[in-house]
């Protein structure tokens, strides 16, 4: 569906990125300055690459060898900017209809009313953008991009400027857009929880290069992403189990064991992704008893990273392929005499898992 293989030198920054996707949501993940937004600009045609090619649905948008560069306004990509970029002199309705004025009339696959309903913006239609809150602006921006009948939606950190509450409000809307309108999406973010929640494929960028690529559970947990320790997380994909609980807990079934989540998380058998912070995971070499921790997952220790500091990063591979990262101390590693290849148990407190940020994966 989309094939990207481009390189660009901009001052001292060098970008060389290659990935492809067959649809769904591709999460472009990485720290700021890693080249995520630049990659998105290249796909949108806002920047020219030095060399390489980009193909969308078999149509070359850029091919430096063949001398092809399709202008931005002919690409039919819907771009959602971090700060919405609504036209201040037009009402919300006219902002939404803007792309309609320029899209070919016969091929409108996306219906105005269903976009308005999905995004919940009926009551905003006659307002001026200056009267909208940050979250409302972003919803309108998503609607505006969708209504231009794009071949692909490019979202550049659309939630980065919003507070957590707004974020949790808009994330499910993006999920609905993904499921309802069947538009492929490239979603750029430095927030792991957003990428984990939305993406079916993750491309991790580091310093202008692809550091890792694959399903979120296998890519996002890896230890080589070099994040601040409080931002290190893993993503586990699990199904809602049948077990009923009188205590308001939901059982999630994962190949490595049962994960307990507070609150209700949808009907049985629904697939969910859970983000687990590395600082919230403890490790034991035998299955512990007499402990309040409810979630115990078994896995194989794949790597132990230590330096001269006090901390150690443990990466486990769980049955099913997900990676789980745990942060512990170098002393603990020594006292438990942990080695790569050991069978270990990962302990996760239920209260540490944010049930609000749990993602439902794409409906099939």
């Amino acid at each position: 569906m989309i094939v990207v293989d481009v390189s660009l030198k901009f001052r001292s920054f060098e970008l060389a990125v290659a990935f492809s996707s067959e649809g769904g949501v591709v999460g472009l993940f990485g720290r700021s300055g890693s080249g995520k937004s630049l990659t998105l600009n290249l796909i949108a045609g806002l920047t020219r690459p030095d060399r390489g090619r980009i193909c969308l649905h078999g149509r070359p948008l850029v091919d430096t060898q063949a001398g092809i560069f399709v202008k931005s306004y002919r690409r039919r990509v819907g771009f959602v900017f971090q700060d919405a970029q609504l036209f201040p002199h037009l009402s919300v309705r006219h902002n939404l209809l803007f792309g309609r004025w320029f899209s070919p009339q016969g091929q409108r696959a996306i219906d105005f009313d269903s976009v308005i309903a999905t995004l919940g913006i009926e009551h905003l239609l006659d307002r001026a953008p200056a009267h909208l809150s940050g979250g409302e602006k972003q919803r309108v921006a998503i609607g505006r991009a969708l209504l231009s009948d794009p071949k692909i939606l490019l979202m550049d950190e659309p939630l980065a400027a919003l507070d957590l509450e707004r974020k949790l409000e808009i994330l499910p809307l993006i999920e609905n857009v993904r499921d309802e309108f069947q538009v492929p999406i490239i979603y750029v973010s430095h927030a792991l929880d957003e990428v984990a929640r939305l993406a079916s494929q993750v491309v991790v960028l580091n310093d202008g290069r692809v550091a890792a690529s694959g399903p979120p559970g296998q890519v996002l947990g890896k230890g080589d992403l070099g994040h601040d320790r409080f931002e290190r997380s893993s993503v586990l994909t699990a199904r809602v189990g049948d077990a009923k609980s009188d205590y308001g807990l939901t059982e999630l079934v994962h190949p490595a064991g049962r994960i307990w989540l507070s609150g209700l998380a949808g009907p049985p058998d629904r697939e969910l992704r859970v983000v687990v912070k590395a600082t919230d995971v403890a490790v034991a070499t035998i299955r512990p008893t007499h402990l309040s921790v409810r979630t115990v997952l078994s896995g194989t220790l794949r790597s132990i990273e230590t330096d001269d500091g006090a901390l150690a990063t443990l990466t486990m591979t769980l049955p099913g392929g997900d990676h789980l990262v745990a942060l512990t101390t170098r002393l603990s590693v020594q006292e438990l005499s942990l080695r790569c290849g050991d069978q270990v148990f990962a302990l996760i407190k239920t209260v540490a898992l944010d049930e609000r940020a749990v993602a439902t994966t794409r409906r099939r």
């Binding site: 949108a44 771009f79 036209f87 201040p88 002199h89 231009s148």
Partner: protein, 232 residues
């Protein structure tokens, strides 16, 4: 005492006609030049910028003389326009309009360019990704957002054209009913005995017209900025 003589009325009429035509004709050229200076990058941009601003820094008499040498009856450009299009500038009110338009042009371009510079280019990029051709982007995004500056530029040019004296009198002389504007009429009146009262009347008219233009620009600017930023 305050009633104008027919000659004075004629001067007011010529002034208004000259300033209106000068502003109307130079506005589209001014908007285009401002856009080119604000958005395009090309070799010789500094030179173009300099040429546009030249009338602002040159002595008006020099500008008028350059116009006379280019657009006079026997000058190459003037003869060409007269022979092929029947447009004659020399010693006509059209020449006065040309001179005052040229003098007002830099003021107009400056104001418009500043307001185009202030339009967020990412808004234009957004319009582009929504499928709008660059010309449409200019027409429906850039120009409406730069409108306050366009209006200010037009009014500045109009005011400058109303008061233009040096370049006009050098280029097309001071012919009552043809090229004699308020400024030229005041100048003439100060050169004759008993002209003081007429000069005073025309001065008051000038002040009134300038004030009206300024107030109009203020109102228009407030109105347009209210359209885009209703909260502030």
């Amino acid at each position: 005492m305050f009633s104008l003589s027919p000659e004075e009325w004629t001067a007011v009429g010529v002034s208004l006609k000259v300033a209106l035509v000068a502003t109307t004709v130079s506005l589209p050229i001014g908007v285009f030049t401002a856009f080119v200076l604000a958005r395009w990058r090309f070799l010789g941009k500094t030179l173009l910028d300099g040429i546009v601003h030249l009338p602002l820094v040159l002595p008006p008499v020099v500008t008028g003389y350059v116009l006379l040498m280019s657009f006079g009856r026997h000058a190459p450009l003037g003869a060409f326009l007269a022979d092929h299009f029947g447009i004659v500038f020399a010693f006509r009110w059209t020449g006065a309009a040309l001179a005052s338009g040229v003098m007002g042009f830099p003021l107009m371009v400056r104001a418009i360019r500043l307001s185009i510079d202030a339009v967020d280019r990412r808004l234009e990029a957004a319009a582009g990704t929504l499928g709008a051709h660059p010309l449409w982007v200019f027409a429906v995004v850039t120009l409406p957002l730069a409108l306050p500056g366009v209006l200010v530029g037009a009014i500045l040019c109009f005011a400058k054209a109303l008061g233009e004296f040096g370049a006009t009198i050098t280029f097309v002389s001071n012919i009552p009913g043809q090229t004699q504007t308020i400024s030229a009429a005041i100048y003439t009146l100060t050169q004759v005995p008993n002209g003081d009262l007429g000069a005073l009347r025309l001065t008051l008219i000038s002040v009134a017209m300038a004030l009206t233009a300024l107030v109009a620009s203020e109102i228009l600017q407030r109105w347009t900025s209210k359209q885009y930023h209703p909260i502030e």
